[in-house]
């Protein structure tokens, strides 16, 4: 996967994750262009489209569009389910997630995405494993490192 974008129906970018080095200027241009293309599409249209030299796979959940750019040889249907699994993870973590959760806890959304995808590839598809990692991190929040190390060493 080259990048993933979350944007609203009004064209507000809510989350962006780039898996290849891209200049900021190009990112902005691509985001603008792609949002325009995707927002112009009607419901019931196909979830895949060709854009530049990439394949775009997108799906709308309530007010949010989830949009992935994948390479020629990547599997479109499984990418749709990558999106869905990510939505499930957000949902499970926030408890029926809405756009506001992602706006106000954007850093958490990034952490969840990072646990799920790394370098554009799936790290783990198990919902339990991913959420365990996130929740463990939440538990760890204010715990001092040395305490943790002590526990491990015991």
């Amino acid at each position: 996967m080259r990048f993933m974008l979350l944007f609203s129906r009004q064209g507000k970018l809510r989350l962006q994750k780039w898996y290849t080095a891209t200049a900021e200027r190009d990112k902005k241009k691509m985001v603008r262009e792609l949002m325009q293309v995707v927002l112009a599409r009607k419901p019931k249209m196909c979830s895949f489209l060709e854009w530049r030299d990439l394949k775009i796979v997108y799906k709308r959940y309530a007010s949010l569009y989830f949009c992935c750019a994948v390479e020629e040889q990547d599997n479109e249907l499984i990418t749709l389910e990558v999106i869905h699994r990510f939505v499930e993870l957000l949902d499970k973590y926030f408890g029926s997630v809405c756009e506001l959760d992602i706006i106000f806890n954007f850093e958490k959304a990034y952490f969840i995405l990072d646990e799920f995808l790394m370098g554009g590839e799936i790290q783990d598809t198990s919902k339990k494993s991913v959420l365990k990692a996130i929740e463990q991190a939440d538990l760890l929040q204010e715990v001092l490192i040395y305490c943790y190390i002590d526990q491990v060493d015991l």
């Binding site: 080095a21 019931k44 590839e121 494993s129």
Partner: protein
């Protein structure tokens, strides 16, 4: 700042809410205008800046909060130019969330500031060695997110170790695998798998499905690059796949997704197998075929759930399996089953499935086993082209029609595509036009159909008919005399339309100018009627078209002497002879003069009918190939069809770089490039063709390299346009090379540029190359320009730098890449020594890797004097009276590089009777022995 009254904030914030952050986000959301937002942001930036600069040391929480705010501002699309240092400080915090925010900031806003990178790398190093899995994962994520070369240099060695270590936690293994993959993609030279290969491959057997899922992405990428080293993964992948496919839907617990067992892993396994040919081992292959059959069978079973996730996951595996079946292209039974399955999807109510089925069938159409099966779906596909509401689906349908086209259905498909073109989306019209043009040409049985089709194209979508298309129809009409009369009649009729496209005027002008005589017998299309028809369009046309029409007029004077006075009058008019456009004015003047002074015989010779064009690859095809997208697949297929005896000429081995092929536009008409008379004169026309066909034959970049191993001066390259001469001199580890570029033609070369590049390793640490004087972008006809290149040898090397030359000649881009003859022996310093010393040193260099030896057949006469001259040219000292056998030659020298000196000894033993040589080189460095041996073996 932390006012309570803000609205529209979620009641619960997960984890450690940062109140200040939530307030700030809420403020931004409440901004009514962009200006208000910017104002609020600037206020916040000023606040943060003052906190960071303040005397009071910030506590970790505040630092985290401000860094997070900066991140939020950045993600809103604003520039952030501070805070990096505070983020780096957070990396070494002893609180997890502070560290986490620090890493997030670095990942999103990495700065190539080297000082910072060093600090970041230090923090990462600490976390990697902390043995705390959560911290290790954070660090690995950061490396993968940034993926820079500096990070690869720092960590590419360490990560494989973490990946395969027995005591690494599963979650860390997963991160390590994907982190390594990212580094491999950015800096493959730094990721050396060598000793780890087998252990990495065996991760496919890991008990933890998450580990397998992550590792397989890495393995697939590595297999694509080094298939041989990783080929043991095939049998492991097959058995893993087989276990998943045969498992019940609940066996894999959390790795079952909507009743489908491990869909992601299944897809990845099937994708990995596509890096390899079908397994040779019968048992493995049998097991795999069984898996593929099971997957196809499951597609027929009733769904276990009505949710779209279930069917998507199941079909994702199915499509990946079909890709593998197509990739193998060896199991007719599976191919036909795949085709039938896709056929069902063509009418599925899910748009996504229809889209994918059309796309996948496109590749099936190119297999001989399934081509016929694909063809049976033609009506459904045509229907899709007509009725699909989504342009991307229609596009796929058009692609598929193109791919399934053959002689049997060409007329139907071309007709459908033409009628679709009338309403097609603008974005795909040009590609559609190209495809119709190609199909019409490829499957034309009678050429009147071909001519009709192209003229229809111009009528329906004239704006999208590129030069290549209308040049090609002219080329074909000129080459086939059975269609010329028909073409003349048809264009004449087409031109009757009150508003016809300019491209139609071009084709009409050209064809009537050549073959108008074939329809002149009919009083309705008498010479004057033809002329008046053409001339009625003249004033509406652009300059190039007018120029073409003027050429057609002079041809008319030759074809139909009775039109001479009318046409001369037109040429003589002020609007022609005093036209402000130089090209038009020149044509008018010259044609007028030509028509008044030349005898009929001379006119007839100069303006003779165009000779046939040499057959070669259709320029349209080349154009389509440049276009990206799934159409490319079908173009490959087309090329294959062509080799089987299609109408197009061969040339399938053309390399990928179609830009190096001069645009055939120039050779067809030469209208814009050459002077006007040349354009119409047949002899000059065919000369142009010859020149270009010569230029098409690109020399292999190494062809000339061999000639320069033993000499420093000579002609590096020559074709009919350009000669490149070379003079070079070397001293110690330095060299200077003079390149002379000579324009052999009488026309100037424009936008002449040269670039010297050092590919691969050469670039960074082997050879320093500086080009001196920059060249003028223009070389006049017959002129020569000089360029100087300075070379410094840093350490020994084997590859040669590349010289790329680009210029335009008569509108056509010429693109040439040559290897510069810089070889390691250029840096030899000859060393004289006595027999005793020679053999003593020879013995000292006795490690097996220090010696390189080659036994080879003589390619040239074994003349002693020639051999001596070549060895001297090599740069070593030729030692007399050293070898006990007077037939043999021995040499000694030292290669001077900046890093070190490499002593080398050489012995060449000719065997006149067998016409063979044995060449032995010994050097203090193994790579040097090897390279010298390779270079020299080609010389004798």
């Amino acid at each position: 700042e932390e006012a309570e009254k803000r609205a529209n904030m979620p009641a619960v914030s997960k984890g450690d809410g940062m109140r200040g952050l939530a307030v700030f986000i809420s403020d931004i959301r409440n901004c009514k205008s962009k200006e208000a937002e910017i104002k609020r942001i600037n206020k916040e930036l000023a606040n943060i800046r003052s906190k960071f600069k303040g005397d009071k040391a910030l506590d970790g929480y505040s630092k985290k909060k401000y860094v997070c705010k900066l991140l939020f501002i950045f993600l809103l699309g604003h520039d952030i130019d501070f805070g990096h240092m505070e983020a780096v400080n957070l990396l070494s915090s002893n609180k997890y969330t502070e560290k986490q925010i620090g890493y997030l900031f670095i990942s999103v806003l990495v700065n190539s500031n080297s000082e910072l990178i060093r600090l970041i790398n230090n923090a990462i190093k600490n976390d990697l060695s902390s043995r705390n899995p959560t911290f290790m994962c954070l660090a690995l994520h950061c490396i993968a997110n940034v993926g820079s070369r500096e990070m690869a240099e720092a960590f590419a060695g360490e990560i494989p170790r973490i990946l395969v270590a027995g005591d690494t936690m599963d979650s860390v293994k997963q991160s390590a695998a994907l982190c390594l993959l990212r580094l491999y993609k950015t800096s493959p030279d730094l990721v050396l798998m060598g000793e780890w290969t087998s252990r990495v491959v065996h991760l496919l057997n890991d008990q933890h499905m998450g580990v397998v899922t992550a590792a397989i992405s890495l393995i697939t990428c590595l297999s694509q690059k080094n298939p041989d080293e990783f080929k043991t993964c095939v049998s492991l992948a097959v058995s893993r796949l087989s276990r998943i496919v045969s498992s019940a839907s609940t066996d894999l617990q959390d790795y079952t997704y909507y009743f489908v067992p491990a869909p992601w892993l299944s897809c990845k396994l099937l994708r990995l197998l596509q890096c390899y040919p079908p397994p040779e081992d019968g048992a493995v292959k049998g097991r795999l075929v069984e898996c593929l059959e099971t997957i196809l069978n499951k597609a027929q079973e009733p769904p276990k759930s009505k949710k779209v996730q279930h069917s998507n996951a199941k079909n994702a595996i199915l499509f990946e399996a079909i890709s593998l079946i197509i990739h193998y292209d060896s199991e007719p039974n599976l191919l036909v089953r795949a085709c039938n399955q896709l056929g069902q999807f063509l009418q599925h109510r899910e748009t996504n499935l229809r889209y994918l089925a059309l796309e996948s069938m496109c590749t099936l159409a190119s297999s001989e086993f399934s081509h016929e099966a694909v063809k049976t779906h033609i009506e459904t596909v045509i229907n899709a082209l007509k009725t699909e509401r989504d342009v991307s689906v229609r596009q796929r349908a058009a692609d598929l029609l193109y791919a399934m086209c053959d002689r049997s259905n060409a007329k139907q498909i071309v007709a459908e595509m033409l009628s679709y073109l009338e309403t097609a989306d603008y974005s795909i019209r040009e590609e559609m036009v190209l495809k119709v043009a190609i199909l019409a040409e490829k499957y034309a049985v009678d050429y009147s159909w071909y001519v009709d089709t192209i003229l229809n194209l111009i009528r329906i979508a004239g704006d999208y008919v590129s030069e290549e298309v209308w040049y090609r129809v002219i080329q074909i009409v000129i080459n086939r005399d059975d269609v010329q009369g028909y073409a003349a009649k048809t264009v004449f009729e087409a031109l009757q339309a009150p508003a016809c496209h300019e491209n139609m005027v071009k084709v009409g002008g050209y064809i009537l100018g050549e073959f108008g005589n074939l329809i002149a017998g009919d009083p309705r299309s008498s010479p004057l009627v033809q002329f008046n028809l053409l001339h009625s369009k003249f004033h509406l046309c652009s300059v190039p078209t007018r120029a073409l029409l003027l050429s057609a007029y002079i041809k008319f004077i030759n074809l139909f002497p009775e039109t001479k006075s009318t046409i001369q009058e037109v040429l003589r008019s002020d609007s022609q002879i005093r036209n402000s456009d130089v090209e038009l004015q020149q044509r008018a003047v010259e044609y007028l003069k030509l028509s008044s002074i030349a005898s009929t015989d001379v006119l007839a010779t100069v303006l003779e009918e165009m000779p046939p064009f040499p057959e070669r690859e259709s320029s349209i095809l080349a154009k389509l190939k440049k276009k990206k997208g799934p159409g490319a697949v079908s173009v490959n297929e087309l090329e294959e069809g062509k080799r089987e005896g299609g109408e197009l000429n061969g040339g399938g081995e053309r390399g990928g770089d179609s830009s190096s092929t001069p645009s055939p536009s120039a050779d067809l008409l030469g209208l814009r490039a050459g002077p006007p008379v040349t354009a119409a004169a047949p002899s000059a026309g065919s000369l142009l063709v010859d020149v270009f066909s010569e230029a098409v034959k690109q020399p292999s970049p190494t062809a000339f390299l061999r000639l320069f191993v033993c000499k420093n001066n000579g002609v590096l390259f020559e074709n009919q346009l350009l000669q490149i001469g070379i003079k070079s001199e070397y001293r110690q580890n330095l060299g200077r090379m003079y390149l002379f570029y000579g324009n052999k033609t009488s026309v100037q070369f424009v936008t002449f540029t040269t670039t010297v590049t050092c590919p691969g390793e050469l670039q960074s640490h082997i050879l320093h190359i500086h080009t001196w004087n920059s060249l003028e972008p223009l070389i006049e006809g017959g002129a020569q320009v000089q360029q100087v290149i300075n070379i410094e040898c840093l350490t020994d090397f084997s590859d040669a730098p590349l010289l790329n030359i680009k210029f335009r000649y008569g509108g056509a881009l010429q693109n040439l890449t040559l290897k510069l003859p810089v070889t390691i022996n250029k840096f030899f310093q000859p060393t004289e020594m006595a027999s005793h010393d020679f053999f003593q040193r020879w013995k000292q260099l006795s490690l097996p890797q220090q010696e390189a030896q080659k036994i080879f057949k003589a390619n040239h006469a074994m003349d002693t004097e020639v051999l001596k001259a070549k060895l001297l040219g090599l740069g070593m000292a030729l030692l007399e009276n050293v070898d006990p056998n007077p037939e043999n030659f021995v040499c000694a020298g030292v290669i001077q590089t900046k890093a070190q000196q490499v002593g080398s000894l050489l012995r060449l033993e000719p065997n006149a009777q067998a016409q063979m040589y044995r060449l032995t080189v010994r050097s203090s460095k193994d790579t040097v022995s090897k390279r010298l041996c390779e270079l020299l073996a080609e010389q004798f």
